[in-house]
Symmetry: C2
Subunit: 243 residues, 2 copies
């Protein structure tokens, strides 16, 4: 089955310096997963032109879709557009439609900082999906999203339907035993089902289980057979429940 891969570049001194907690990565990961898209990489880098350009150069050919978060406002540290343009070898130009919208919005109060928000890498297009006030900038396979969580989330919700792919099927097994006890049974399951996405997550604290085991695939039948296989291997009483 076709797999769509995605990656995210988060531009944010505020995150690296511990002033702001990044919630955009987790939101994007969850929403893409629901669309059947595999997020393969998240990279958080400073507001630095060369670092943004280098990340874009490395990552945009490697994944089907690349997202950026942050650095798209009107101030000195908003250099994501310039960084993407540098990474792609394109000039920064003013998008006529965005300029018109900004001039209509600000009227006589228009200034250079406000007009900066009309800047795009040459050849960028505006995606008008989902009825958001302002469109989302797309250039090649890169979607440029704002860092403010409310805006980031509304834009992801507006465009995520574009990436819809075959869904993942997930089954979960909760066990009372330690990871070190179940490891051999997981290994044996993977020998028979090598393409299974198998996760093992120990829980500390007051959970009613010790380890949560996740079985996933885009092939529903494959997941069900793998779960049956694992259940048959595990000693009686070790499985608390499945979902």
């Amino acid at each position: 089955m076709r797999e769509t891969t995605a990656a995210l570049i988060v531009v944010g001194n505020e995150i690296l310096s511990g002033k702001v907690v990044d919630t955009n990565s987790a939101f994007l990961a969850r929403e893409l997963r629901r669309e059947g898209v595999t997020l393969r990489r998240v990279l958080v880098i400073p507001d630095d032109l060369e670092e943004i350009a280098a990340a874009v150069r490395e990552m945009h050919p490697r994944y089907d879709v690349l997202f950026t978060s942050g650095g798209v406002g009107p101030t000195h540290d908003d250099i994501t557009i310039a960084g993407i343009a540098l990474g792609l070898g394109r000039r920064v130009v003013r998008d006529p439609l965005m300029e018109e919208k900004l001039r209509a919005l600000f009227g006589a109060r228009i200034n250079e900082a406000r007009l900066k928000m009309a800047e795009v890498p040459e050849g960028g297009e505006m995606v008008f999906e989902g009825g958001t006030n302002f469109p989302t900038l797309k250039v090649e396979n890169i979607y440029v999203l704002p860092g403010i969580p409310e805006l980031f989330e509304s834009k992801v919700n507006a465009i995520k339907g574009r990436f819809a792919s075959d869904p993942f099927h997930l089954r979960v097994l909760y066990t009372s035993e330690m990871e070190t006890s179940i490891a051999e049974f997981l290994d044996r399951t993977l020998e028979t089902f090598p393409d299974l996405l198998l996760g093992s997550y120990p829980k500390y604290g007051d959970a009613d289980y010790r380890v949560r085991i996740t079985l996933e695939s885009k092939d529903r039948d494959y997941v069900e057979r793998a779960l049956e296989h694992l259940l048959a291997l595990l000693p009686p009483g070790w499985v608390l429940r499945t979902e």
Copy 2:
């Protein structure tokens, strides 16, 4: 002033697939900042041997300290140690001290999965700071930390004193005006204080301010002079308060 740089590799299918929200990055960012250390990069990658090795090869020469989070348990998807070893061109060996500790802990219940937790890249050393039950593995400039937040945090707290550097001095200014209005004054402040770490963070929702401006440097006097400069530039009434 000397600047210590750090980076973090998070190994985690569970994070990329949206099953688990990564809190370790934000914790590390904040704690390092308090020690005067600049976190320059966070990279989240899958449980994939080659990806871990490639990330280690690229990042460990580039930063003073490199941390990894996750992938250090006893199961099939715990391949961080092997990935680091591959990235550094070292063999994976069993650490005699760790093996002894594990044998003492598990007694007759010792098995291959449990002994896997004694594996280290050859030449790795055990850091016994902070009175934690188990030491932290260090190899070259890489500290190998567990992904489970409770364990990650206790290990960071145990070792963070090692990296203590000159502290950052932070002043914060809250304004009632939009980013597009204040941008020119921020630019003019940076012209006079080019080494200032200047951040501008608009707030949506029901905050009592529109933008939070952060001024930082390791030089306290420099920050204070920059803040005075900015305050003198801003029109009367725009500043709600400073911290």
